[in-house]
C-alpha cells in the first residue's frame, strides 16, 4: 500500500513537472517572438531606471525602450538574448551604464526582498548558467516563489507587450523633486551600507562583459550610455566608483561605444530627482542622442 502510494505520488509529481516544463517552453517561445514582427524597431534601449527615465522612445525613430527599474545586468543579458535570438532587425542596443551600475547593491537586489517581484518576471527567460547562479544563492527563495512565477507566466499574453513583466517602458513624468533629501536617499541606497561605501559587484562586471561579447558575436552595435545626473548628486558619488567605472570601460572599449552624458548641463527642473531625468530632460537627451547615434551611423535624424 505504501509503495503504491509512493509510486502514484511520484507519477503525479512527474506529470505536473512535465506539464510545467512544457508551459515554460511555450512561454519562452512566445517571449522570443516579441518584437519579431515589428520591422520598424531596430534599436533596443535596455537598463535600469536611468535609461527608463532618460530615453523617450517615441522621440527616437526605430527604438524601443524596455528598461526596468533596478534591473541587474544578469537579467538584461538574458532579455537581450531572448529578444534578439529570432529578431535580426535589432542592430543596435543602447545599454544604461552609470556610475552606480557596478555597485554590489545589485547583488543585494537579486537575492534580497526584490527577488519577490524580480524572480516571477525574469526566471522564465534565464539561460541555464544564469539560473544556476541564482539557484546557488537562493534556491529556497525560488521554490517559495514558484506559484508567483507561474502566476506571472500565465498572465503573459503574446499580443499584449505590457503583460510580460520583464519588458519595461519609458517612464513619463514631469515631476521634479531634486533636493538634499532625495539625493541623500539615493546615495545611501546605491553606495552606502552600514556607514561604509559599498563594494563592487563582480557579477555586474561579468554580465556587462557578457553583453558586450554577445553583441559582438551577433554584430549588434552596443552603445553604453551614461545618463545625465544633477551636479549635487555627482558631487557625492564616491570617487572610487568613478575610477572603477572608467577602468572597466577600458576593458570593454573594443566591443562597445560609450556615450558619456553624465556632465550634461541641464536645468534643475529637467531632473525627476538627483540621478533621474523627467520628460523635459529626456527630450533633450533624445535629441543629443540622436546626433550621437547619427555620428555612429546608427539612425537617421528625427
Amino acid at each position: 500500500m505504501f509503495s503504491k502510494f509512493i509510486k502514484k505520488t511520484l507519477f503525479i509529481c512527474s506529470a505536473v513537472t512535465l506539464l510545467l516544463l512544457a508551459y515554460l517552453f511555450y512561454f519562452r517561445v512566445n517571449a522570443k517572438s516579441f518584437l519579431a514582427d515589428n520591422k520598424d524597431i531596430h534599436i533596443l534601449i535596455c537598463g535600469d531606471s536611468h535609461t527608463k527615465c532618460a530615453i523617450n522612445d517615441s522621440l527616437l525613430i526605430g527604438s524601443k525602450n524596455i528598461s526596468v527599474g533596478a534591473q541587474s545586468y544578469l537579467y538584461t543579458y538574458n532579455i537581450i538574448k531572448t529578444l534578439t535570438e529570432n529578431n535580426p532587425n535589432i542592430d543596435t542596443i543602447i545599454l544604461g551604464y552609470s556610475f552606480h551600475s557596478l555597485s554590489d547593491n545589485f547583488d543585494d537586489i537579486m537575492t534580497g526582498p526584490w527577488s519577490k517581484t524580480d524572480y516571477p518576471a525574469y526566471l522564465p527567460i534565464l539561460d541555464a548558467s544564469s539560473f544556476n547562479l541564482l539557484a546557488r544563492d537562493n534556491s529556497i527563495g525560488m521554490i517559495k516563489l514558484l506559484p508567483n512565477i507561474l502566476n506571472t507566466m500565465v498572465k503573459a499574453n503574446p499580443l499584449k507587450q505590457t503583460s510580460y513583466q520583464f519588458i519595461g517602458s519609458f517612464h513619463h513624468s514631469k515631476n521634479s523633486v531634486v533636493n538634499d533629501s532625495t539625493i541623500k536617499l539615493t546615495l545611501i541606497r546605491q553606495y552606502i551600507r552600514s556607514s561604509k561605501i559599498k563594494g563592487f559587484s563582480s557579477l555586474q562586471e561579468e554580465y556587462l562583459s557578457k553583453i558586450c561579447d554577445y553583441c559582438n558575436e551577433k554584430q549588434i552595435k552596443l552603445i553604453l550610455l551614461n545618463t545625465p545626473v544633477y551636479s549635487d548628486y555627482l558631487a557625492v558619488v564616491p570617487p572610487s566608483f568613478i575610477k572603477k567605472y572608467y577602468a572597466v570601460y577600458e576593458k570593454l572599449k573594443d566591443r562597445a561605444v560609450l556615450i558619456d552624458m553624465h556632465n550634461m548641463k541641464l536645468p534643475k527642473n529637467h531632473f525627476g530627482d538627483g540621478d533621474h531625468l523627467n520628460d523635459y530632460g529626456a527630450s533633450i537627451v533624445c535629441s543629443r542622442l540622436d546626433s550621437a547615434l547619427l555620428a555612429q551611423k546608427v539612425t537617421p535624424l528625427n
Binding site: M1, F2, K4, F5, K8, F11, I12, A15, V16, L19, L20, I140, I143, K144, L146, P147, N148, L150, N151, M153, V154
Partner: protein, 484 residues
C-alpha cells in the same frame, strides 16, 4: 506558519513521514513537539500563555474528578475563570478600556487605566474554548480526566486544529491519541484530496475575492453601490472559502495520520433558513455555544420570552467571541434577531408560503437566507461601525443613480482591484463552487470519481495541482479566522 505556505508544506511532509516511521508509543510525543514548533512559528513567547492554560486545566480536570460536592464546582469555576481571564486580558482588555474611556468622556472625566500594547495570541479563542469544553465535560461526568500531561497538552495543542479549529470535544479527540493508526492508502489519499480541495478554496477562490473586498471595504467612500454590492457578495464567499478551506486542510491533514476531526461546514449557503445556516456554518462553534451556553441558560425549556432572550444572548456572545469590536457584536445581534424573528413569525410565514405556493420554490428561501447572511457580513467585514453604516446606506441609496446611469449608457463599473476578465473568473469560480455543492446533495462526488479509470483520476489531480499553482494568489494572506 500558514497552511498555504512553503514552510507548512515542508513541515507537514516531515512530520507525517516521521509519524508513520515512529513506533505507536512515540507518536504522541512527536505530534506534541511539532505542535509546539507550529505554534511558536507565529509568536514564540505566547507558548507560555498556552502552557499556562494547559497546566491549569490539566490539574483542574484531575481535581474535579477526585473531588466531591461543591468542591467540584469550585475547581470548574476556577478553570473557567482562568481561561476566560486570559481571553479577557489579551482579547478584550483594550476594547473594554476604550468603552470605559468613551463613557467617562461623557462625564468629562479622564480614563486612568492604561492601555496594553499586546498582540492577540494566535488561535486564543479556539484553544481556550476547546480547553473549557474539557473541564466542563469532566465536571458533567461525560469524560474521564486525562492523567497523562503530555496527551492532555496534545489535546489542546494538536497542530491541525490549534489555531482555527474545528473546536473539538474531549470525547471525540482525546482517546484518538492512544489509538494505533497504520498507513492506510484510502485514508491517506482521502486526506490529501481534502487538503487539496481546501487549498484550492483558499488560494484560488478566497484570496482572489479578497483583492476586491479589501479594495472596496478599506475605502468604501470611493465606491458606488454596485461596487459595494459586489464586494459584499464576494466577501460572503471569501469568508466561506477561507474558513472552510482552512478547516478542510486541518481535517485532511489529521485524517492522513488517522485522526477524525469533526465536520465544520456543510454547504451553508444552501440553507433555507437562518436556523439551518447555523447548523451548517462553523458547526464546532455553534454546537459549543449550544451545549455550554444555550442549554446552561435554559435553552428552550423556559418561557417563550426567556427562550428568545437566551437565543439572543448566545448570538451576542458569539459575535463578541469573533472579535473585540462593536461590529462583531452587531453581527451577532443581527443573527440573534433573525432567529428570534423567524420563530415569532414562523406560523405567519408558513401560512403565507403555502397560500402563495412559495414553499414549492426552495430557491427563494435559499436566496433570502443568503441575502440576510450577506447583509450581516457587512458588519463582520467593515473596519468600523461608521464604515458599516456608510456601506449599508449607500448600497441602497446609490441604486437609483446606478440604474439611471446604466440606462443612459454611462459606465457603472469601477476599478475594484481586479480586471474585467479576473472579475468574470471570480464569478465563475463562485458558480463552480455552488455547482459542486449542489451536485454533492445528489451524489457522493468522491465515490463517483473513485469509480472512474485511473487516468481520469490522475488527470484530475494534476489539474487541481496546476490550477492551484497557476491561478492561486500566493501573497501569504492570513486565514481570516486566525485573528480570532
Amino acid at each position: 506558519m500558514l497552511f498555504n505556505s512553503f514552510h507548512f508544506f515542508v513541515f507537514f511532509i516531515v512530520v507525517t513521514s516521521l509519524y508513520f516511521a515512529l513506533p505507536y508509543s512515540k507518536r504522541w510525543f512527536l505530534l506534541l513537539v511539532s505542535s509546539c514548533y507550529f505554534y511558536m512559528a507565529f509568536v514564540p513567547i505566547y507558548i507560555l500563555i498556552l502552557g499556562f492554560t494547559i497546566v491549569i486545566d490539566y490539574f483542574a480536570g484531575i481535581y474535579i474528578e477526585n473531588a466531591q460536592g461543591k468542591r467540584r464546582r469550585t475547581y470548574l469555576i476556577f478553570s473557567l475563570i482562568a481561561n476566560i481571564g486570559v481571553l479577557a486580558v489579551f482579547k478584550y482588555y483594550n476594547f473594554l478600556n476604550d468603552n470605559l474611556s468613551f463613557l467617562l468622556k461623557g462625564f468629562a472625566l479622564e480614563n486612568p487605566i492604561p492601555y496594553l500594547s499586546i498582540l492577540l495570541p494566535i488561535g486564543l479563542s479556539f484553544h481556550t474554548f476547546q480547553a473549557m469544553s474539557y473541564t466542563i465535560e469532566v465536571y458533567r461526568g461525560n469524560q474521564k480526566a486525562e492523567r497523562n500531561f503530555g496527551i492532555y497538552s496534545l489535546y489542546v495543542m494538536f497542530y491541525p486544529q490549534l489555531v482555527a479549529g474545528p473546536i473539538e470535544r474531549p470525547q471525540n479527540l482525546l482517546h484518538q491519541f492512544r489509538e494505533k493508526y497504520d498507513f492506510d492508502y484510502d485514508r491517506v489519499t482521502s486526506g490529501l484530496r481534502l487538503m487539496a480541495w481546501g487549498l484550492f478554496k483558499k488560494v484560488v477562490i478566497a484570496d482572489r475575492l479578497a483583492i476586491v473586498t479589501d479594495t472596496v471595504y478599506n475605502n468604501p467612500e470611493q465606491y458606488n453601490s454596485l461596487s459595494l454590492i459586489i464586494a459584499t457578495f464576494f466577501f460572503s464567499f471569501q469568508i466561506f472559502c477561507d474558513f472552510s478551506g482552512y478547516s478542510d486542510m486541518a481535517i485532511g491533514s489529521a485524517r492522513i495520520m488517522g485522526f477524525k476531526l469533526m465536520t465544520n461546514f456543510n454547504k451553508p449557503y444552501q440553507s433555507k433558513s437562518i436556523h439551518e445556516f447555523w447548523q451548517r456554518w462553523h458547526i464546532s462553534l455553534s454546537t459549543w455555544f449550544k451545549d455550554y451556553l444555550y442549554i446552561t441558560l435554559g435553552g428552550n425549556r423556559v418561557s417563550i420570552p426567556r427562550w428568545y432572550l437566551n437565543l439572543f444572548i448566545v448570538f451576542l456572545v458569539s459575535g463578541l467571541w469573533h472579535g473585540a469590536n462593536w461590529t462583531f457584536v452587531i453581527w451577532g445581534a443581527l443573527h440573534g434577531f433573525y432567529l428570534v424573528f423567524a420563530l415569532v413569525t414562523k406560523n405567519y410565514r408558513e401560512t403565507l408560503a403555502k397560500r402563495l405556493y412559495l414553499n414549492k420554490v426552495p430557491f427563494l428561501s435559499v436566496s433570502i437566507t443568503f441575502i440576510l447572511v450577506a447583509f450581516a457580513w457587512i458588519f463582520f467585514r467593515a473596519n468600523s461601525l461608521h464604515s458599516a453604516f456608510y456601506i449599508i446606506k449607500h448600497i441602497f441609496v446609490g441604486l437609483p443613480d446606478l440604474v439611471h446611469n446604466f440606462l443612459n449608457h454611462q459606465s457603472i463599473f469601477q476599478n475594484i482591484g481586479l480586471g474585467s476578465m479576473e472579475l468574470i473568473a471570480s464569478l465563475l469560480l463562485i458558480v463552480f463552487l455552488e455547482t459542486v455543492h449542489t451536485i454533492q446533495n445528489k451524489i457522493n462526488l468522491t465515490q463517483y470519481f473513485l469509480q472512474k479509470p485511473a487516468f481520469v483520476r490522475l488527470a484530475l489531480y494534476c489539474g487541481v495541482i496546476l490550477c492551484i499553482l497557476f491561478f492561486g494568489v500566493f501573497e501569504n494572506r492570513q486565514f481570516i479566522y486566525f485573528q480570532f
